[in-house]
């Protein structure tokens, strides 16, 4: 009788007439009069349940507590989260819970019994999001504009439903904002001395410790890790080196060399708000190689190095980003393909496939080095490279400088926590669409991101502030 699309006014009028079917009141159970079914919550005498997220505005790496109250007791509910990426794609997740005897549930303490994740996962709604059915394929969630938040609509639905198939009626909602920048953090586009990057400076007088931040061969200039570092009190300079319109030469090759990366480090050293002797370098994927390489350039003395899922050297030629034909790129001999035709880059960075002269002289490292491994990394041979680093440093008597974090089930893209992962996404779309496999499975990858981020920040705290 009281299904989804009846208006509230109509419901009010109908139920006022028919008080014999007065609703099930939590805490006032009248034996034998329990009413089950969809009319549970719709009434003139009860408001919608109260759904809250505390706090409603957070940084992306902070937790928020989602709770609901004033629901029927021991009742099935579905919580659903939806948000749009900067490109307009819809991402969503949902989970099934049961309220307790007081008509409440709390994601910090209760277990999801189905949906996008299961078990007790306070932030599960955020990290388990996937593109909604009907959205474009091959997506990866990356925040382009770090000065605006993600706006996440969190809804409460009746029963255990799948939002895509039979959503039913939304009975309550709350909006949460997830920010990549703290108030007071300053963002500066840097285009000087040939450098292409963005500098984030925390609020306050400084001087601050700093990070030089590099990503992989996907190119462009992802700013979101740097903006988060600045929101944690570290100046951070994310540096573009390939596939950016302001860089010289063709966009599908790396056209900058040692002097470029050294200049980037020196830029930080010479900045009036940065402590010259407290600068670290961090890089993911090919950025990891650049981190190790830059960190051992003559005259560059970083205070710490962080490498995530990347090689210790470069392959025989600097990688071409675009696919032209399979024959023209010598590295493509190392590519493999899964049964869906997705590229697996992993073999390219096996130590034995790296150009021997490009392999970083790890024994010359003089600062602490943290290396993060996703054990299901299908894009880079992270385990093998970590083994090589460990072996080299041990032989040089420098094991005390090395920290290795290894995460089973985690893939290549170990990013700031509570963000959705993509096991595969588009690598290129022209001249043909090609997907690449990053690896990782949602739950262990999410746990890895959360743990790795915390440990990275602690490592930076120890190396750059004490």
């Amino acid at each position: 009788m009281f299904r989804s699309h009846v208006s509230v006014t109509t419901i009010r009028q109908v139920v006022e007439i028919n008080t014999k079917h007065r609703l099930f009141s939590p805490g006032k159970l009248t034996p034998g009069k329990r009413i089950v079914g969809s009319m549970r919550w719709e009434s003139s005498t009860r408001p919608a349940p109260l759904l809250t997220a505390t706090p409603v505005r957070t940084l992306v790496d902070e937790q928020t507590c989602i709770k609901a109250s004033f629901l029927p007791s021991n009742h099935p509910v579905t919580v659903c989260a939806r948000m749009r990426s900067d490109e307009g794609d819809l991402w969503q997740s949902f989970a099934h819970y049961n309220t307790n005897s007081s008509g409440m549930f709390n994601l910090n303490s209760d277990h999801s019994v189905g949906g996008s994740y299961s078990g007790c996962e306070p932030m599960g709604l955020f990290w388990s999001m996937q593109p909604a059915p009907g959205e474009r394929e091959g997506l990866r969630l990356r925040k382009k504009c770090v000065e605006s938040p993600y706006t996440v609509q969190i809804s409460l639905l009746e029963g255990h439903v799948s939002p895509n198939q039979d959503p039913g009626k939304e009975v309550a909602a709350v909006t949460a904002e997830r920010w990549y920048m703290s108030p007071g953090v300053k963002r500066q586009e840097i285009r000087q001395n040939g450098l292409v990057g963005t500098l984030f400076i925390p609020p306050g007088p400084g001087p601050f410790p700093a990070m030089l931040d590099m990503w992989g061969m996907g190119g462009g200039l992802p700013e979101y890790r740097s903006s988060l570092f600045a929101s944690r009190g570290y100046a951070s300079f994310c540096l573009a080196y390939v596939g950016h319109k302001d860089l010289p030469g063709p966009s599908n090759t790396v056209n900058v060399g040692d002097s470029y990366f050294k200049a980037a480090f020196q830029f930080l050293q010479e900045h009036s708000q940065i402590s010259a002797d407290r600068i670290g370098i961090v890089g993911l994927s090919y950025g990891c190689y650049l981190t190790l390489h830059t960190g051992t350039l003559p005259g560059v003395k970083p205070a710490c190095l962080i490498g995530i899922n990347g090689p210790v050297g470069s392959s025989r030629e600097l990688l071409h980003v675009n696919v032209t034909t399979k024959k023209s790129d010598q590295d493509q001999v190392f590519w493999s393909f899964d049964d869906q035709g997705y590229i697996i880059f992993k073999q390219t960075s096996l130590p034995s496939n790296l150009h021997p002269e490009s392999i970083v002289k790890l024994e010359e490292i003089t600062c602490p080095l943290m290396y993060i491994v996703g054990e299901d990394d299908l894009s880079a041979s992270s385990i093998e490279n970590a083994d090589l680093i460990e072996k080299t440093l041990r032989a040089a008597g420098k094991s005390h400088l090395f920290t290795r974090l290894s995460y089973p089930g985690a893939g290549h893209l170990i990013e700031p926590p509570y963000s959705p992962m993509s096991r595969a996404s588009f690598w290129v779309i022209k001249p043909e669409k090609l997907m690449t496999l990053w690896g990782g499975h949602p739950a262990p990858h999410a746990a890895a991101q959360e743990d790795a981020w915390r440990k990275m920040l602690a490592f930076m705290e120890l190396s750059l502030r004490r």
Binding site: P47, V56, A173, E177, P207
Partner: protein, 446 residues
């Protein structure tokens, strides 16, 4: 643009100082944690807050701390031993904000634009300082935003049927319980409390009943039907649950809250909250008659030593004439009274005592809760905002501004704001979201 402290290099021992405030974006009534790390153990440090208000004034506060043996200061655990607040006060930097020296006298901080946050710069300085912060270099600084509106809350101007108000709706489909929100004799359309209430799940209509459009244009005050119209507009809103509406009034607003709760055939409240108010009023009159009552008693004004106006005796003594006070013995819904025992503007304490007696005699005092706070003044507002002991005030329709004494001592008043707000929210949620219908006894059963 408000200038912050200058940036100069400092010596190495203090370069590692780290300051963090979490969460950096929060609702005005939420707590944050201020943490300072990597200072030399045992060193004296000052935490400082600076805020530039919408009207361009600068407000500041400070706390004096001693770093522990690990070189940390946590404002939630550690004691302030000097400055504008003392003791373990995690939010002291906000509630003890005062205008900087040299400011115009009689300032009061009130957020007009609720869609933007209040921005506060929090800094840590070496040593213990209480003044001249502009001339110092801070060791570290952080910026926090304090919001009156949660994301997704909708702000809807209400102008139908000659009303002047703003409705704040929580996010979601509803239906939500509703609340009619009345401020005091200064008039204007004050939105920030309603915005906060909507951020807690209550559809709240802030109503201007003194300087509203009708009064501004005609020069005439509205009558009691104005409040009933506002109630109806709220009740009939498709996203408001018409059977669950409350009223909340501060100061003069409490007079009309009680009038409606007791006498109106239209207004049926789930519960009522009266802050710093009274039941003393001409029962059969409206706003104009209330203003006339004040005018008739004008000689009862007193003045403090600093020549601040004290209005608390204006309505005293509590009349015994039943036509001069709302008959709260007839109330059918729960009533929460919030009383500042140092209220210099209204006779709140005496009124609350009289209301208690009336309800005890009538046998409905089980509906009454009184929260009475020592050393607390008249302006009991949402927490963690500055206490105003006195300010330059212009009553609605009055040409002249005068310095009015509100009362209260800052630490006690701030504690009262924090405690009363929490209890008001619990009271409202309990009665609006849960509980049985107090009016039900009068409904016929089918």
């Amino acid at each position: 643009m408000c200038p912050f402290v200058q940036q100069v290099r400092m010596d190495n021992s203090l370069q590692r100082v780290k300051l963090s405030v979490h969460p950096s974006r929060a609702l005005v009534d939420e707590e944050f944690v201020i943490l300072v790390q990597n200072v030399p153990p045992g060193s004296p440090m000052t935490l400082h807050a600076l805020h530039c208000s919408e009207d361009g004034h600068r407000w500041e506060a400070c706390g004096h701390y001693i770093a522990d043996s690990s070189g940390s200061i946590n404002a939630a655990d550690d004691c302030s031993v000097g400055g504008s607040y003392l003791g373990v006060e995690p939010m002291g930097l906000l509630w003890s904000l005062k205008p900087v020296p040299g400011s115009k006298p009689g300032l009061r901080m009130r957020k007009k634009d609720v869609q933007t946050p209040m921005v506060v710069a929090i800094s840590v300085f070496n040593g213990h300082h209480s003044e001249a912060f502009v001339d110092q270099v801070s060791l570290a600084s952080w910026v926090v935003e304090r919001w009156y509106m949660a994301p997704g809350v909708r702000r809807i101007p209400v102008t139908e049927q000659q009303l002047t108000g703003t409705l704040f709706l929580p996010p979601g489909p509803g239906p939500f319980p509703g609340l009619l929100d009345l401020w005091g004799g200064g008039g204007q359309l004050v939105e920030y409390r309603s915005a906060l209430l909507a951020s807690h799940g209550i559809a709240s209509l802030a109503l201007d009943y003194l300087t509203n459009e009708f009064t501004t244009q005609t020069g005439k005050m509205v009558d009691n039907q104005y409040f009933e119209t506002a109630y109806r507009v709220l009740q009939q809103h498709p996203q408001v649950l018409g059977s669950r509406i409350a009223m909340l009034g501060l100061s003069l607003g409490s007079v009309f809250t009680l009038k409606m709760a007791v006498y109106s055939p239209v207004v049926k409240l789930r519960c009522a909250v009266c802050i710093s108010g009274s039941h003393i009023q001409p029962v059969s009159g409206g706003p104009q008659e209330m203003m006339d009552l004040f005018t008739r008693n004008i000689e009862k004004i007193n003045f403090s030593e600093q020549n601040e106006v004290i209005w608390r005796s204006l309505l005293l003594p509590v009349p015994s004439d039943p036509s001069m006070k709302a008959d709260v013995g007839r109330l059918r819904c729960p009533l929460l009274l919030v009383v500042g025992e140092d209220d210099q503007n209204w006779c709140t304490q005496e009124s609350a005592a009289d209301m208690e007696q009336m309800m005890a005699r009538a046998g409905n005092d089980h509906l009454l809760t009184i929260l009475s706070y020592p050393e607390t003044g008249h302006l009991i507002e949402p927490p963690y905002t500055p206490h105003t002991p006195s300010s330059m005030y212009r009553g609605a329709g009055v040409d002249q501004k005068m310095m009015v004494l509100w009362g209260g001592k800052t630490p006690e008043h701030s504690a009262a704001q924090e405690d009363s707000w929490r209890k008001i929210l619990t009271f409202l949620k309990k009665n609006l979201y849960g509980g049985s219908d107090p009016q039900a006894i009068h409904r016929s059963h089918l």
